[in-house]
Protein backbone atom coordinates (compact mmCIF):
# COMPACT_ATOMS: atom_id res chain seq x y z
CA UNK A 1 0.00 0.00 0.00
CA UNK A 2 1.20 3.46 -0.80
CA UNK A 3 0.93 5.99 1.95
CA UNK A 4 0.44 9.78 1.80
CA UNK A 5 -0.24 9.82 -1.93
CA UNK A 6 -1.26 13.20 -3.36
CA UNK A 7 -2.37 14.52 -6.72
CA UNK A 8 0.36 15.73 -9.01
CA UNK A 9 3.15 14.62 -11.31
CA UNK A 10 5.46 12.14 -9.65
CA UNK A 11 8.98 13.52 -9.66
CA UNK A 12 11.56 11.52 -11.57
CA UNK A 13 14.50 12.94 -9.63
CA UNK A 14 14.74 14.38 -6.12
CA UNK A 15 17.00 14.13 -3.11
CA UNK A 16 16.28 12.26 0.08
CA UNK A 17 15.95 15.40 2.17
CA UNK A 18 13.30 16.70 -0.20
CA UNK A 19 11.51 13.38 0.19
CA UNK A 20 11.54 13.78 3.97
CA UNK A 21 10.21 17.34 3.80
CA UNK A 22 7.41 16.52 1.34
CA UNK A 23 6.41 13.53 3.51
CA UNK A 24 5.97 15.74 6.57
CA UNK A 25 4.29 18.46 4.48
CA UNK A 26 1.60 15.97 3.52
CA UNK A 27 1.01 15.10 7.17
CA UNK A 28 0.15 18.72 8.03
CA UNK A 29 -3.43 18.80 9.27
CA UNK A 30 -5.55 21.75 8.20
CA UNK A 31 -6.90 23.98 10.93
CA UNK A 32 -4.31 22.84 13.45
CA UNK A 33 -1.51 24.72 15.19
CA UNK A 34 2.16 23.82 14.94
CA UNK A 35 5.17 24.93 16.94
CA UNK A 36 8.11 24.48 14.60
CA UNK A 37 11.79 24.91 15.28
CA UNK A 38 13.00 27.90 13.33
CA UNK A 39 15.97 26.46 11.51
CA UNK A 40 16.25 23.46 9.26
CA UNK A 41 13.63 21.18 7.79
CA UNK A 42 10.59 21.66 10.10
CA UNK A 43 9.86 25.22 8.92
CA UNK A 44 10.05 24.12 5.28
CA UNK A 45 7.69 21.20 5.95
CA UNK A 46 4.99 23.44 7.47
CA UNK A 47 5.38 26.11 4.78
CA UNK A 48 5.11 23.53 2.01
CA UNK A 49 2.17 21.85 3.74
CA UNK A 50 0.33 25.18 4.03
CA UNK A 51 0.94 26.03 0.41
CA UNK A 52 -0.12 22.70 -1.05
CA UNK A 53 -2.55 20.98 1.31
CA UNK A 54 -3.48 22.79 4.52
CA UNK A 55 -4.01 26.54 3.95
CA UNK A 56 -5.54 26.97 7.39
CA UNK A 57 -2.77 25.24 9.33
CA UNK A 58 -1.03 27.83 11.51
CA UNK A 59 2.36 27.94 13.11
CA UNK A 60 4.28 29.68 15.84
CA UNK A 61 8.03 30.05 16.27
CA UNK A 62 10.14 30.27 19.39
CA UNK A 63 10.37 34.07 19.31
CA UNK A 64 6.60 34.35 19.70
CA UNK A 65 5.61 34.93 16.07
CA UNK A 66 2.01 33.75 15.75
CA UNK A 67 0.63 32.71 12.34
CA UNK A 68 2.88 34.75 10.02
CA UNK A 69 2.67 35.10 6.26
CA UNK A 70 6.44 35.21 5.90
CA UNK A 71 8.28 36.95 3.13
CA UNK A 72 10.29 34.27 1.35
CA UNK A 73 12.99 33.23 1.02
CA UNK A 74 14.73 33.61 4.39
CA UNK A 75 18.33 34.72 4.59
CA UNK A 76 20.82 32.24 6.07
CA UNK A 77 20.24 31.80 9.85
CA UNK A 78 17.62 34.60 9.87
CA UNK A 79 14.61 32.46 10.68
CA UNK A 80 13.70 34.14 13.97
CA UNK A 81 13.84 37.68 15.42
CA UNK A 82 14.07 38.94 11.86
CA UNK A 83 11.57 40.77 9.69
CA UNK A 84 11.02 38.30 6.86
CA UNK A 85 9.99 35.23 8.90
CA UNK A 86 7.75 37.31 11.18
CA UNK A 87 6.10 39.27 8.36
CA UNK A 88 2.31 39.74 8.49
CA UNK A 89 1.91 37.68 11.66
CA UNK A 90 -1.30 37.92 13.66
CA UNK A 91 0.65 38.65 16.82
CA UNK A 92 4.21 39.19 17.95
CA UNK A 93 5.41 38.08 21.34
CA UNK A 94 8.52 36.69 22.93
CA UNK A 95 9.87 33.29 23.87
CA UNK A 96 7.66 33.02 26.93
CA UNK A 97 4.65 33.67 24.65
CA UNK A 98 5.50 30.53 22.69
CA UNK A 99 6.36 28.56 25.82
CA UNK A 100 3.25 29.55 27.73
CA UNK A 101 0.86 29.02 24.82
CA UNK A 102 2.20 25.50 24.34
CA UNK A 103 2.04 24.93 28.09
CA UNK A 104 -1.64 25.94 27.94
CA UNK A 105 -2.38 23.30 25.30
CA UNK A 106 -2.80 25.57 22.25
CA UNK A 107 -0.18 23.78 20.16
CA UNK A 108 -1.54 20.66 18.45
CA UNK A 109 1.74 19.57 16.91
CA UNK A 110 5.42 20.20 17.36
CA UNK A 111 7.88 19.57 14.55
CA UNK A 112 11.53 19.36 15.49
CA UNK A 113 14.97 18.00 14.65
CA UNK A 114 17.29 15.95 16.82
CA UNK A 115 20.74 14.46 16.78
CA UNK A 116 19.79 11.05 18.16
CA UNK A 117 16.54 9.27 19.03
CA UNK A 118 15.85 6.13 21.03
CA UNK A 119 13.22 3.39 21.15
CA UNK A 120 10.95 5.49 23.36
CA UNK A 121 11.26 8.64 21.27
CA UNK A 122 13.61 10.47 23.62
CA UNK A 123 15.63 13.07 21.74
CA UNK A 124 19.27 13.98 22.18
CA UNK A 125 20.70 17.27 20.93
CA UNK A 126 23.14 17.88 23.80
CA UNK A 127 26.05 15.49 23.66
CA UNK A 128 27.37 12.29 22.12
CA UNK A 129 29.58 9.78 23.88
CA UNK A 130 30.86 9.75 27.42
CA UNK A 131 34.05 10.36 29.41
CA UNK A 132 37.01 11.51 27.35
CA UNK A 133 35.15 10.79 24.10
CA UNK A 134 32.25 13.02 25.07
CA UNK A 135 31.43 15.77 22.65
CA UNK A 136 29.02 18.56 23.59
CA UNK A 137 26.59 19.95 21.02
CA UNK A 138 24.36 22.96 21.14
CA UNK A 139 21.63 21.93 23.58
CA UNK A 140 17.89 21.45 23.13
CA UNK A 141 17.01 25.07 22.34
CA UNK A 142 13.23 25.16 22.12
CA UNK A 143 12.87 21.42 21.52
CA UNK A 144 12.53 20.56 25.22
CA UNK A 145 9.40 22.70 25.51
CA UNK A 146 8.05 21.61 22.13
CA UNK A 147 8.51 17.94 23.01
CA UNK A 148 7.00 18.39 26.47
CA UNK A 149 3.99 20.56 25.70
CA UNK A 150 2.67 20.11 22.15
CA UNK A 151 0.01 17.44 21.91
CA UNK A 152 1.73 15.44 19.18
CA UNK A 153 5.40 15.45 18.24
CA UNK A 154 6.85 14.90 14.79
CA UNK A 155 10.60 14.36 14.86
CA UNK A 156 12.60 14.81 11.66
CA UNK A 157 15.99 13.13 11.85
CA UNK A 158 18.45 11.13 9.76
CA UNK A 159 18.32 7.39 9.18
CA UNK A 160 21.73 6.50 10.54
CA UNK A 161 22.78 3.69 12.82
CA UNK A 162 24.42 5.97 15.37
CA UNK A 163 21.25 8.05 15.55
CA UNK A 164 18.68 5.27 16.17
CA UNK A 165 19.78 3.80 19.46
CA UNK A 166 18.35 1.82 22.36
CA UNK A 167 19.01 4.63 24.80
CA UNK A 168 20.14 8.11 23.77
CA UNK A 169 23.42 9.30 25.29
CA UNK A 170 21.56 12.21 26.84
CA UNK A 171 17.83 12.95 27.00
CA UNK A 172 17.61 16.61 25.95
CA UNK A 173 13.90 16.52 25.11
CA UNK A 174 11.48 14.05 26.60
CA UNK A 175 9.94 11.22 24.65
CA UNK A 176 8.26 8.45 26.64
CA UNK A 177 11.33 8.47 28.94
CA UNK A 178 11.85 4.92 30.28
CA UNK A 179 8.72 3.73 28.47
CA UNK A 180 6.80 2.78 31.60
CA UNK A 181 3.14 3.84 31.77
CA UNK A 182 2.72 7.50 32.77
CA UNK A 183 6.48 8.11 32.94
CA UNK A 184 5.95 11.60 31.47
CA UNK A 185 3.29 12.50 34.00
CA UNK A 186 5.49 11.29 36.85
CA UNK A 187 8.15 13.68 35.58
CA UNK A 188 5.71 16.60 35.73
CA UNK A 189 4.97 16.78 32.01
CA UNK A 190 1.43 17.41 30.74
CA UNK A 191 -0.96 14.47 30.46
CA UNK A 192 -1.72 13.01 27.05
CA UNK A 193 1.33 14.29 25.20
CA UNK A 194 4.31 12.58 23.60
CA UNK A 195 6.10 11.46 20.46
CA UNK A 196 3.77 10.71 17.55
CA UNK A 197 5.80 10.19 14.38
CA UNK A 198 9.47 10.01 13.46
CA UNK A 199 10.23 10.77 9.82
CA UNK A 200 13.61 10.17 8.19
CA UNK A 201 14.66 10.39 4.53
CA UNK A 202 14.07 6.64 4.40
CA UNK A 203 11.20 5.78 6.71
CA UNK A 204 8.34 6.68 9.01
CA UNK A 205 7.73 5.35 12.53
CA UNK A 206 4.88 5.62 15.00
CA UNK A 207 4.70 4.41 18.62
CA UNK A 208 2.86 1.28 19.64
CA UNK A 209 0.63 0.76 22.68
CA UNK A 210 3.70 0.13 24.81
CA UNK A 211 5.20 3.40 23.60
CA UNK A 212 7.92 1.68 21.55
CA UNK A 213 8.99 3.11 18.22
CA UNK A 214 7.56 1.09 15.34
CA UNK A 215 8.46 1.13 11.65
CA UNK A 216 5.27 1.71 9.65
CA UNK A 217 6.43 2.91 6.23
CA UNK A 218 9.52 3.13 4.05
CA UNK A 219 10.62 5.10 1.02
CA UNK A 220 10.28 3.27 -2.31
CA UNK A 221 14.03 3.36 -2.83
CA UNK A 222 14.95 1.31 0.25
CA UNK A 223 14.00 -2.05 1.73
CA UNK A 224 12.93 -2.79 5.29
CA UNK A 225 16.23 -4.61 5.75
CA UNK A 226 18.20 -1.58 4.65
CA UNK A 227 16.29 0.63 7.08
CA UNK A 228 16.80 -1.81 9.96
CA UNK A 229 20.50 -1.99 9.14
CA UNK A 230 20.60 1.74 9.89
CA UNK A 231 19.10 1.28 13.35
CA UNK A 232 21.52 0.40 16.13
CA UNK A 233 18.56 -0.83 18.13
CA UNK A 234 15.88 -2.60 16.07
CA UNK A 235 12.49 -0.89 16.32
CA UNK A 236 9.21 -2.75 16.33
CA UNK A 237 8.01 -3.42 12.80
CA UNK A 238 4.35 -3.10 11.79
CA UNK A 239 2.68 -6.18 10.35
CA UNK A 240 2.21 -4.30 7.11
CA UNK A 241 4.97 -1.82 6.27
CA UNK A 242 3.63 0.66 3.74
CA UNK A 243 5.48 2.52 1.00
CA UNK A 244 5.62 6.31 1.14
CA UNK A 245 4.69 8.15 -2.03
CA UNK A 246 7.45 10.10 -3.79
CA UNK A 247 7.49 13.91 -4.09
CA UNK A 248 5.58 15.54 -6.91
CA UNK A 249 7.04 18.03 -9.35
CA UNK A 250 4.58 20.59 -7.99
CA UNK A 251 5.90 20.16 -4.44
CA UNK A 252 9.51 20.36 -5.58
CA UNK A 253 8.76 23.53 -7.53
CA UNK A 254 7.53 25.23 -4.36
CA UNK A 255 10.28 23.81 -2.19
CA UNK A 256 13.11 24.65 -4.57
CA UNK A 257 12.00 27.95 -6.01
CA UNK A 258 10.17 29.57 -3.08
CA UNK A 259 11.24 27.98 0.17
CA UNK A 260 14.72 26.49 0.30
CA UNK A 261 16.11 28.41 -2.65
CA UNK A 262 19.67 28.20 -1.39
CA UNK A 263 19.45 24.52 -0.59
CA UNK A 264 20.17 25.21 3.08
CA UNK A 265 18.01 22.37 4.30
CA UNK A 266 17.80 20.11 1.29
CA UNK A 267 21.44 20.31 0.27
CA UNK A 268 22.74 18.90 3.50
CA UNK A 269 24.21 15.43 3.26
CA UNK A 270 21.47 14.11 1.13
CA UNK A 271 21.66 11.46 -1.56
CA UNK A 272 19.82 11.70 -4.87
CA UNK A 273 17.09 9.38 -6.01
CA UNK A 274 16.10 8.87 -9.66
CA UNK A 275 13.42 6.96 -11.47
CA UNK A 276 15.02 4.20 -13.54
CA UNK A 277 12.49 2.22 -15.53
CA UNK A 278 9.71 1.74 -12.96
CA UNK A 279 11.97 1.83 -9.91
CA UNK A 280 13.25 4.65 -7.74
CA UNK A 281 16.96 4.12 -7.19
CA UNK A 282 19.34 5.72 -4.70
CA UNK A 283 22.49 7.10 -6.24
CA UNK A 284 25.25 5.59 -4.14
CA UNK A 285 28.82 6.72 -3.73
CA UNK A 286 27.90 10.27 -2.66
Amino acid sequence: MTMLEVEGTKASSFNEREFQITTVARMIEDGRSYWVTGGGTPIFAILLGQRRYAPNAQYITEDGVIAPEPMLPFEPIMTMVASRPSYRALAWGTMNTAGNHAQLGYMDYGILNGLQVDRYGNINSTLIGSGKEMRHFGGPGGADSIAANCWRIILMTDQEKRKFVERVDFISSAGFLDGTPNARERAGLPRGTGPWRVVTPWAMYDFDDERRMRLIAIAPYVTVEEVLAECEYPPQVAEQVETLAVPTEEELEVLRSQLDVQGQATGVRSGWVTLEGDKYVRQTGD
Partner: protein, 323 residues
Protein backbone atom coordinates in the same frame (compact mmCIF):
# COMPACT_ATOMS: atom_id res chain seq x y z
CA UNK B 1 7.20 20.25 50.52
CA UNK B 2 8.29 16.86 49.27
CA UNK B 3 11.22 16.85 46.82
CA UNK B 4 10.94 13.85 44.49
CA UNK B 5 14.11 14.45 42.48
CA UNK B 6 16.63 17.20 41.99
CA UNK B 7 19.38 18.29 39.64
CA UNK B 8 22.94 18.50 40.87
CA UNK B 9 24.25 21.57 39.05
CA UNK B 10 25.27 24.77 40.78
CA UNK B 11 22.96 27.69 40.02
CA UNK B 12 23.17 31.38 40.71
CA UNK B 13 22.03 31.70 44.36
CA UNK B 14 18.38 32.65 44.71
CA UNK B 15 17.69 35.62 46.95
CA UNK B 16 14.53 37.62 46.18
CA UNK B 17 14.79 39.71 49.35
CA UNK B 18 18.41 40.46 48.61
CA UNK B 19 17.37 41.57 45.13
CA UNK B 20 14.68 43.85 46.54
CA UNK B 21 17.23 45.41 48.84
CA UNK B 22 19.61 45.87 45.92
CA UNK B 23 16.85 47.62 44.00
CA UNK B 24 16.04 49.85 46.95
CA UNK B 25 19.66 50.81 47.38
CA UNK B 26 20.96 51.05 43.82
CA UNK B 27 18.17 51.59 41.32
CA UNK B 28 17.26 55.25 40.98
CA UNK B 29 13.57 56.03 40.76
CA UNK B 30 14.35 59.57 39.70
CA UNK B 31 14.46 60.50 36.04
CA UNK B 32 18.20 60.84 35.55
CA UNK B 33 20.11 61.08 32.29
CA UNK B 34 21.98 57.82 31.74
CA UNK B 35 23.68 58.26 28.39
CA UNK B 36 27.13 56.68 28.32
CA UNK B 37 29.49 55.39 25.68
CA UNK B 38 29.69 51.62 25.19
CA UNK B 39 33.17 51.76 26.64
CA UNK B 40 32.06 53.58 29.81
CA UNK B 41 28.95 51.43 30.23
CA UNK B 42 30.88 48.14 30.08
CA UNK B 43 33.70 49.47 32.27
CA UNK B 44 31.24 50.61 34.94
CA UNK B 45 28.58 47.93 34.84
CA UNK B 46 30.19 44.66 33.72
CA UNK B 47 32.49 43.19 36.35
CA UNK B 48 34.68 40.10 36.21
CA UNK B 49 32.74 37.15 37.60
CA UNK B 50 29.32 38.60 36.74
CA UNK B 51 26.38 36.52 35.62
CA UNK B 52 25.58 37.95 32.19
CA UNK B 53 22.35 37.81 30.20
CA UNK B 54 22.02 39.36 26.76
CA UNK B 55 18.79 39.37 24.85
CA UNK B 56 18.51 37.84 21.42
CA UNK B 57 22.02 37.34 20.08
CA UNK B 58 25.00 38.58 18.08
CA UNK B 59 23.15 37.92 14.82
CA UNK B 60 19.56 38.90 15.70
CA UNK B 61 18.94 42.26 17.37
CA UNK B 62 21.50 41.50 20.02
CA UNK B 63 23.78 43.96 21.85
CA UNK B 64 26.68 42.98 19.56
CA UNK B 65 28.49 46.26 20.21
CA UNK B 66 28.67 45.37 23.92
CA UNK B 67 29.76 41.78 23.28
CA UNK B 68 32.67 43.24 21.32
CA UNK B 69 33.34 45.78 24.07
CA UNK B 70 33.47 43.01 26.69
CA UNK B 71 36.04 41.18 24.57
CA UNK B 72 37.97 44.45 24.03
CA UNK B 73 38.06 45.12 27.79
CA UNK B 74 39.07 41.51 28.53
CA UNK B 75 36.40 40.84 31.09
CA UNK B 76 36.94 37.50 32.80
CA UNK B 77 35.08 34.62 34.44
CA UNK B 78 31.61 35.58 33.24
CA UNK B 79 28.72 33.17 33.67
CA UNK B 80 26.56 33.26 30.54
CA UNK B 81 22.86 32.77 30.04
CA UNK B 82 23.32 30.72 26.87
CA UNK B 83 19.80 30.67 25.46
CA UNK B 84 18.73 31.33 21.89
CA UNK B 85 22.23 32.15 20.85
CA UNK B 86 24.43 31.12 18.01
CA UNK B 87 27.95 32.52 18.13
CA UNK B 88 28.00 34.74 21.25
CA UNK B 89 28.90 31.91 23.63
CA UNK B 90 31.68 30.75 21.32
CA UNK B 91 33.03 34.28 20.91
CA UNK B 92 33.05 35.00 24.65
CA UNK B 93 34.58 31.64 25.49
CA UNK B 94 37.06 31.78 22.63
CA UNK B 95 38.11 35.20 23.91
CA UNK B 96 38.46 33.71 27.40
CA UNK B 97 35.85 36.04 28.90
CA UNK B 98 33.50 33.34 30.20
CA UNK B 99 33.92 30.17 32.25
CA UNK B 100 30.35 29.02 32.92
CA UNK B 101 27.28 28.64 30.74
CA UNK B 102 23.68 27.82 31.50
CA UNK B 103 22.80 26.06 28.25
CA UNK B 104 19.61 26.57 26.35
CA UNK B 105 21.05 26.56 22.89
CA UNK B 106 24.30 27.83 21.42
CA UNK B 107 26.34 27.11 18.34
CA UNK B 108 29.02 24.61 19.31
CA UNK B 109 32.46 24.69 17.71
CA UNK B 110 36.12 24.00 18.33
CA UNK B 111 36.45 27.24 20.32
CA UNK B 112 34.09 25.72 22.91
CA UNK B 113 35.39 22.15 22.56
CA UNK B 114 38.88 23.33 23.48
CA UNK B 115 37.64 25.19 26.54
CA UNK B 116 35.86 22.02 27.70
CA UNK B 117 38.95 19.89 27.02
CA UNK B 118 41.16 22.33 28.95
CA UNK B 119 38.75 22.25 31.87
CA UNK B 120 38.03 25.97 31.82
CA UNK B 121 34.36 25.77 30.96
CA UNK B 122 31.42 24.38 32.90
CA UNK B 123 28.09 23.82 31.20
CA UNK B 124 24.82 23.45 33.10
CA UNK B 125 21.91 22.08 31.10
CA UNK B 126 18.55 23.75 30.65
CA UNK B 127 16.61 24.70 27.52
CA UNK B 128 15.67 28.01 25.91
CA UNK B 129 12.20 28.42 27.40
CA UNK B 130 13.28 27.10 30.78
CA UNK B 131 15.90 29.86 30.88
CA UNK B 132 13.38 32.56 29.92
CA UNK B 133 11.04 31.23 32.59
CA UNK B 134 13.86 31.42 35.13
CA UNK B 135 14.24 35.06 34.09
CA UNK B 136 10.47 35.46 34.37
CA UNK B 137 10.61 34.23 37.97
CA UNK B 138 13.46 36.64 38.61
CA UNK B 139 11.44 39.45 37.02
CA UNK B 140 8.48 38.69 39.30
CA UNK B 141 10.52 38.84 42.48
CA UNK B 142 9.85 35.15 43.17
CA UNK B 143 12.28 32.43 44.28
CA UNK B 144 11.22 29.84 41.69
CA UNK B 145 8.66 29.00 39.06
CA UNK B 146 6.98 25.71 38.14
CA UNK B 147 7.51 24.63 34.52
CA UNK B 148 5.88 21.89 32.43
CA UNK B 149 9.05 20.85 30.59
CA UNK B 150 12.59 19.70 31.46
CA UNK B 151 11.20 17.01 33.80
CA UNK B 152 12.50 13.50 33.11
CA UNK B 153 15.39 14.67 30.92
CA UNK B 154 19.11 14.38 31.59
CA UNK B 155 19.17 18.16 31.40
CA UNK B 156 17.03 18.14 34.55
CA UNK B 157 19.68 16.07 36.36
CA UNK B 158 22.43 18.49 35.31
CA UNK B 159 20.52 21.65 36.19
CA UNK B 160 19.30 23.43 39.29
CA UNK B 161 15.74 22.16 38.83
CA UNK B 162 13.79 20.10 41.34
CA UNK B 163 10.77 17.83 40.98
CA UNK B 164 8.31 18.32 43.80
CA UNK B 165 4.84 17.23 44.73
CA UNK B 166 2.58 20.15 43.86
CA UNK B 167 0.82 21.07 47.12
CA UNK B 168 -2.33 22.06 45.20
CA UNK B 169 -2.90 19.21 42.74
CA UNK B 170 -0.81 16.52 44.41
CA UNK B 171 0.85 15.89 41.00
CA UNK B 172 4.60 15.99 40.37
CA UNK B 173 5.82 19.32 39.01
CA UNK B 174 9.24 20.64 38.05
CA UNK B 175 10.38 23.90 39.60
CA UNK B 176 13.33 25.97 38.45
CA UNK B 177 15.31 28.56 40.40
CA UNK B 178 14.64 32.22 39.65
CA UNK B 179 17.44 33.90 37.76
CA UNK B 180 18.52 37.40 38.76
CA UNK B 181 21.60 38.09 36.61
CA UNK B 182 24.20 40.62 37.69
CA UNK B 183 23.99 42.37 34.36
CA UNK B 184 21.71 42.46 31.32
CA UNK B 185 22.62 43.77 27.88
CA UNK B 186 19.64 44.64 25.70
CA UNK B 187 19.59 46.18 22.24
CA UNK B 188 16.44 48.13 21.43
CA UNK B 189 15.11 50.21 18.57
CA UNK B 190 14.50 53.39 20.54
CA UNK B 191 15.14 54.72 24.02
CA UNK B 192 15.14 58.08 25.74
CA UNK B 193 18.01 59.35 27.85
CA UNK B 194 16.44 57.96 31.03
CA UNK B 195 16.19 54.41 29.72
CA UNK B 196 12.55 54.18 28.70
CA UNK B 197 13.01 51.70 25.90
CA UNK B 198 11.02 50.46 22.94
CA UNK B 199 11.48 47.11 21.25
CA UNK B 200 9.60 46.68 17.98
CA UNK B 201 8.91 43.21 16.69
CA UNK B 202 9.52 39.93 18.42
CA UNK B 203 12.18 39.27 21.00
CA UNK B 204 13.30 36.62 23.40
CA UNK B 205 13.04 37.97 26.95
CA UNK B 206 13.97 41.64 26.93
CA UNK B 207 11.43 42.71 29.53
CA UNK B 208 12.15 39.77 31.81
CA UNK B 209 15.91 40.25 31.49
CA UNK B 210 15.72 43.97 32.23
CA UNK B 211 13.54 43.56 35.30
CA UNK B 212 15.36 40.51 36.64
CA UNK B 213 18.88 41.94 36.45
CA UNK B 214 20.78 44.07 38.92
CA UNK B 215 22.55 46.18 36.29
CA UNK B 216 20.99 46.91 32.92
CA UNK B 217 22.67 48.41 29.87
CA UNK B 218 20.44 49.42 26.99
CA UNK B 219 21.92 50.01 23.57
CA UNK B 220 19.56 51.87 21.26
CA UNK B 221 19.50 52.47 17.53
CA UNK B 222 17.86 55.83 18.17
CA UNK B 223 17.69 58.13 21.17
CA UNK B 224 14.31 59.79 21.19
CA UNK B 225 12.79 62.59 23.18
CA UNK B 226 10.88 61.71 26.35
CA UNK B 227 7.93 63.65 24.90
CA UNK B 228 7.73 60.95 22.21
CA UNK B 229 7.66 58.26 24.89
CA UNK B 230 4.87 60.11 26.68
CA UNK B 231 2.88 60.45 23.44
CA UNK B 232 2.64 56.68 23.01
CA UNK B 233 3.23 55.01 26.39
CA UNK B 234 1.88 51.65 25.22
CA UNK B 235 5.03 51.34 23.14
CA UNK B 236 7.36 51.36 26.15
CA UNK B 237 8.79 47.87 26.61
CA UNK B 238 11.16 48.64 29.49
CA UNK B 239 10.61 51.45 32.03
CA UNK B 240 13.46 53.78 32.95
CA UNK B 241 13.91 52.66 36.57
CA UNK B 242 15.13 49.23 35.50
CA UNK B 243 17.89 50.79 33.41
CA UNK B 244 21.37 51.89 34.50
CA UNK B 245 22.96 52.98 31.25
CA UNK B 246 21.77 54.00 27.81
CA UNK B 247 24.19 53.75 24.91
CA UNK B 248 23.37 55.39 21.59
CA UNK B 249 24.40 52.61 19.22
CA UNK B 250 23.35 52.91 15.58
CA UNK B 251 24.15 49.56 14.00
CA UNK B 252 24.74 48.22 17.50
CA UNK B 253 23.42 44.81 16.41
CA UNK B 254 25.87 44.60 13.49
CA UNK B 255 26.66 42.11 11.92
CA UNK B 256 23.22 40.93 12.95
CA UNK B 257 19.90 42.27 11.83
CA UNK B 258 17.79 44.80 13.71
CA UNK B 259 14.26 44.20 12.47
CA UNK B 260 12.80 47.04 10.48
CA UNK B 261 16.08 48.99 10.57
CA UNK B 262 18.71 46.93 8.75
CA UNK B 263 19.46 43.42 7.57
CA UNK B 264 22.35 41.23 8.61
CA UNK B 265 25.75 41.28 6.93
CA UNK B 266 25.68 37.73 5.62
CA UNK B 267 29.39 37.52 4.82
CA UNK B 268 30.32 38.65 8.32
CA UNK B 269 27.70 36.31 9.85
CA UNK B 270 29.36 33.36 8.12
CA UNK B 271 32.77 34.62 9.28
CA UNK B 272 31.47 34.48 12.90
CA UNK B 273 30.36 30.88 12.49
CA UNK B 274 33.74 30.09 11.00
CA UNK B 275 35.56 31.72 13.92
CA UNK B 276 33.68 29.65 16.51
CA UNK B 277 33.69 26.52 14.40
CA UNK B 278 37.45 26.41 13.76
CA UNK B 279 38.61 27.96 17.05
CA UNK B 280 39.54 31.19 15.30
CA UNK B 281 38.09 33.69 17.75
CA UNK B 282 41.49 35.29 18.40
CA UNK B 283 41.90 36.09 14.70
CA UNK B 284 38.31 37.32 14.56
CA UNK B 285 38.99 39.69 17.45
CA UNK B 286 42.25 40.85 15.88
CA UNK B 287 40.33 41.81 12.77
CA UNK B 288 37.06 43.22 14.09
CA UNK B 289 37.68 44.33 17.67
CA UNK B 290 41.17 45.01 18.99
CA UNK B 291 42.45 47.41 16.27
CA UNK B 292 39.68 49.86 17.11
CA UNK B 293 39.15 51.99 20.20
CA UNK B 294 35.39 52.02 19.61
CA UNK B 295 32.81 50.15 17.59
CA UNK B 296 32.06 53.32 15.65
CA UNK B 297 35.64 53.37 14.42
CA UNK B 298 35.27 49.75 13.27
CA UNK B 299 32.01 50.57 11.45
CA UNK B 300 33.61 53.62 9.80
CA UNK B 301 36.88 52.05 8.76
CA UNK B 302 36.17 48.36 8.22
CA UNK B 303 32.53 48.22 7.18
CA UNK B 304 32.07 51.62 5.58
CA UNK B 305 29.06 53.83 4.91
CA UNK B 306 28.32 52.20 1.57
CA UNK B 307 27.91 48.76 3.13
CA UNK B 308 25.85 50.12 6.01
CA UNK B 309 23.53 51.93 3.59
CA UNK B 310 23.13 48.69 1.70
CA UNK B 311 22.21 46.80 4.87
CA UNK B 312 19.64 49.50 5.63
CA UNK B 313 18.25 49.25 2.11
CA UNK B 314 18.11 45.45 2.34
CA UNK B 315 15.60 45.73 5.16
CA UNK B 316 12.58 46.36 2.99
CA UNK B 317 9.97 45.49 5.61
CA UNK B 318 9.03 48.37 7.86
CA UNK B 319 5.44 47.47 8.85
CA UNK B 320 5.27 47.10 12.59
CA UNK B 321 8.63 48.66 13.29
CA UNK B 322 7.76 52.36 13.31
CA UNK B 323 5.33 54.06 15.67
Amino acid sequence: MRILAEGTAPYLPVDPDGFREYVREHKSRALEPKLLSAQEAVARFVADGDYLVYDCNYLQRGPSILIREIIRQRKRDLWLCGKFTYVDVGLLIGAECATKVDCGFFYQGKAIDRAIDEGRLEIYEYSNVVMTLRLQAGAMGLPFLPVRSLGGTDGFSQSGAKLIEDPYTGQPITIVPALNPDVALIHVHQADQYGNARVFGTGIAHEESALASKKVIITAEEIIDTEEIRSDPGRTSIPYYAVDAVVHAPFGAYPGTCQGYYGSDTAHVIECFGAVSRDGVAQYAEKWISPFATDQEMLDKLVGEEKLSQLRANETITEGYRP
